[in-house]
C-alpha cells in the first residue's frame, strides 16, 4: 500500500529529437480508447506549448519566475498600445482604435500563465471595455456587446462603464429583456450610490420604458 505513490501508468511517448516535442507513439494508438487518446493528445499539446514558452524565457534555468515581481516589459508595451488606441479614439478614428485595442488585447491574452491573474484581469477588463466603446461608436452593437460581456467577466466590480456599454448595445438591438437582466446585474454589483451606478439606473429606466413600448405595440 505504501508504494501507491510510486505507481503510475506508463504511456508510450515519443520525443521528436529536433523539436523536442512529445507525442504519443503511433504504434500504440490502438491500445487506447478514442476519448483517452484525445485527452492524452490535448494534454501533450499543452505540455509542448508550455515547454516552448519556458524555453523562450531568457531565464537560464528555464523555470517560470515567481509571480511577483512582474516583468515590466509586456505591461509597458500594452500600455503604449492602449495609449495610441486612446488617442485614435479621441480623434474619432474608431476603426483604427478598435484595431489597436485588438493588438493590445492579443498581447494581454498571450501573457504567460504564471503571471498574476489579478493583473491580467484588470488589463483585459480595461481593454475590452475600451474596445466595446470603439465598437459602440462604430455602431457595431454585436461586437460591442461581446466585448462588454468579456470585460465584466474579467472584472465585475468597479466596471460600471462596461456594464453600461453592454446594456446600451442590447438596447440598440432592441433586446429589452436581456438588457434589463444585464443592467440590473450591473446595478446590483456597482451599487446605486456610485456615479456609475446612477448612470446604470438611468439606462435601466430607459430599458423599462422600451419594454413597455414594445409590449404595447406587440
Amino acid at each position: 500500500m505504501a508504494s501507491s505513490i510510486d505507481l503510475f501508468n506508463q504511456y508510450p511517448l515519443v520525443l521528436d529529437p529536433s523539436s523536442k516535442a512529445i507525442s504519443l507513439s503511433p504504434s500504440s494508438r490502438n491500445s487506447y480508447t478514442a476519448p483517452q487518446t484525445a485527452a492524452l493528445t490535448t494534454e501533450l499539446t499543452s505540455l509542448n506549448a508550455l515547454h516552448r514558452t519556458l524555453i523562450s524565457l531568457d531565464n537560464p534555468s528555464s523555470i517560470p519566475p515567481p509571480p511577483l515581481p512582474i516583468n515590466p516589459k509586456r505591461s509597458a508595451q500594452i500600455t503604449k498600445l492602449r495609449d495610441t488606441a486612446n488617442t485614435a479614439f479621441r480623434k474619432n478614428n474608431h476603426a483604427e482604435a478598435a484595431r489597436l485595442y485588438t493588438f493590445a488585447l492579443e498581447m494581454a491574452i498571450s501573457r504567460p500563465g504564471w503571471e498574476p491573474v489579478t493583473l491580467a484581469r484588470d488589463e483585459l477588463a480595461g481593454l475590452y471595455a475600451n474596445r466595446a466603446q470603439a465598437y459602440l461608436a462604430m455602431r457595431d452593437w454585436v461586437s460591442g456587446l461581446v466585448d462588454a460581456r468579456c470585460s465584466v467577466e474579467c472584472k465585475p466590480t468597479a466596471n460600471a462603464k462596461a456594464w453600461w456599454r453592454g446594456g446600451r448595445c442590447l438596447v440598440e438591438m432592441g433586446r429589452w429583456e436581456e438588457a434589463k437582466v444585464f443592467v440590473g446585474r450591473g446595478v446590483e454589483i456597482e451599487g446605486k450610490e456610485s456615479e456609475g451606478g446612477k448612470e446604470l439606473i438611468a439606462l435601466l429606466a430607459e430599458v423599462e420604458e422600451g419594454i413597455k413600448r414594445s409590449s404595447a405595440s406587440a
Binding site: 506508463q10 508510450p12 529529437p17 519556458l54 504564471w114 461586437s143
Partner: protein
C-alpha cells in the same frame, strides 16, 4: 503424572481461545484491507503525473525502438520541467477540489446522509494528495534550488489564468452566432421597410399622371383624418418624401426626419391604390 493431565485442560482451553481469536483477527484485517483497496479512487487517473513519470522512464525504453535509440540520449530537462509544472497545475486543481468538498462531505457524514466508505475514499485521496504535493516540491527543488517554494504559486496563477481565458474564449465564440442573428434581424427589419416602401412606390408610379394629383389630394385629405383611426397603424413605419410631389418619378428612400406615410394594413395596398387611387387610404403623420 496426574498433574500433567489436569494441567493440559486449561492449556488446551487457552490455546483454542487464542487460536480462534488470532484467526478471527487475521481474517477480519484481511477483509478490511481488501475492502480498502477495492475502494474507488476519488479522482480519475492523474494524467499529468503519468506523463511526467513516463518521460522520466523514457530513456531505458528508447533503445528498443530502432534508429531512434542512439540519437535521443535523454529527455531534455526543460521538457521534464514543463511536465512537472503541468503536474503541479493539476495538483492545484485537485487540492482545491478536495478543500471545497471537505466541509460539505463532513456535514453529510455527520447527518448520516452518506456512507462511511465515501469518507474513507475521501480521506485516502487527501492523504495521497499530500504525498503528491510533497513529491512535486522535492522534484522541483532537485531541478533548481528554491523552485519548490514558488512552483505552486506559479501553478496556481496558471490555473486561474487558464480559467479566465477559457471564459473569454467562450464569450468571443458566441460573437459569430450573435452576428448572424443580428444580420438576420436587420434583414427582416429592412425587408419590412422595403415592403412598405414598395407599397408606396406602387401608387404613384402605376397611376396615370392625371390621377396622381388625386392621390396626392387624397393623401393630404387623409392627413386630417388620421387622428381618429390611429390605432390601426402598424408598428413598422416607412418614411418617404414622395407624397409632397407625387408625379415625380424619383421615389427616394427613407429619411428619418421626413414626413411619414404608412400603408394601411391591407394585404396589397399597391393593388388597391392602382384600382381606386382615391380609395387607397393613406395616413400621414409626423415622426418625432
Amino acid at each position: 503424572m496426574v498433574d500433567w493431565i489436569t494441567l493440559a485442560v486449561p492449556f488446551a482451553y487457552l490455546s483454542v481461545l487464542i487460536g480462534s481469536l488470532a484467526t478471527f483477527s487475521s481474517l477480519y484485517r484481511k477483509r478490511k484491507a481488501r475492502k480498502a483497496t477495492s475502494l474507488e479512487p476519488w479522482f480519475p487517473p492523474h494524467l499529468q503525473r503519468d506523463i511526467y513519470f513516463s518521460l522520466m522512464h523514457l530513456d531505458p525504453a528508447a533503445p528498443k525502438e530502432k534508429g531512434s535509440g542512439e540519437k535521443e540520449k535523454k529527455v531534455p530537462e526543460s521538457v521534464l520541467k514543463a511536465a512537472l509544472l503541468r503536474r503541479a497545475t493539476e495538483d492545484i486543481k485537485r487540492v482545491m477540489a478536495l478543500r471545497s468538498q471537505k466541509q460539505a462531505l463532513a456535514m453529510l457524514l455527520q447527518r448520516g446522509s452518506v456512507g462511511d466508505d465515501l469518507w474513507q475514499r475521501f480521506l485516502r485521496a487527501e492523504k495521497e494528495m499530500e504525498e503528491e504535493v510533497r513529491d512535486v516540491v522535492t522534484e522541483a527543488n532537485a531541478y533548481v534550488a528554491g523552485w519548490g517554494q514558488t512552483i505552486f504559486q506559479s501553478a496556481n496563477e496558471m490555473v486561474n489564468n487558464a480559467l479566465i481565458r477559457e471564459r473569454i474564449e467562450k464569450h468571443q465564440k458566441k460573437a459569430d452566432e450573435e452576428k448572424e442573428w443580428w444580420e438576420k434581424k436587420k434583414a427582416s427589419i429592412q425587408e419590412g421597410f422595403m415592403k412598405e416602401l414598395d407599397a408606396e412606390k406602387g401608387g404613384p408610379t402605376t397611376t396615370s399622371p392625371a390621377a396622381a394629383p388625386a392621390v396626392a389630394a387624397a393623401v393630404v385629405g387623409a392627413e386630417a383624418k388620421t387622428v381618429e383611426p390611429a390605432t390601426t397603424t402598424t408598428t413598422t413605419t416607412t418614411t418617404t418624401t414622395t407624397t409632397t410631389a407625387p408625379p415625380a418619378p424619383t421615389v427616394t428612400e427613407s429619411d428619418e426626419d421626413a414626413v411619414l406615410v404608412e400603408a394601411d394594413d391591407q394585404p396589397t395596398p399597391a393593388a388597391a391604390a392602382q384600382k381606386s387611387p382615391v380609395g387607397g387610404k393613406k395616413k400621414k403623420k409626423g415622426k418625432k
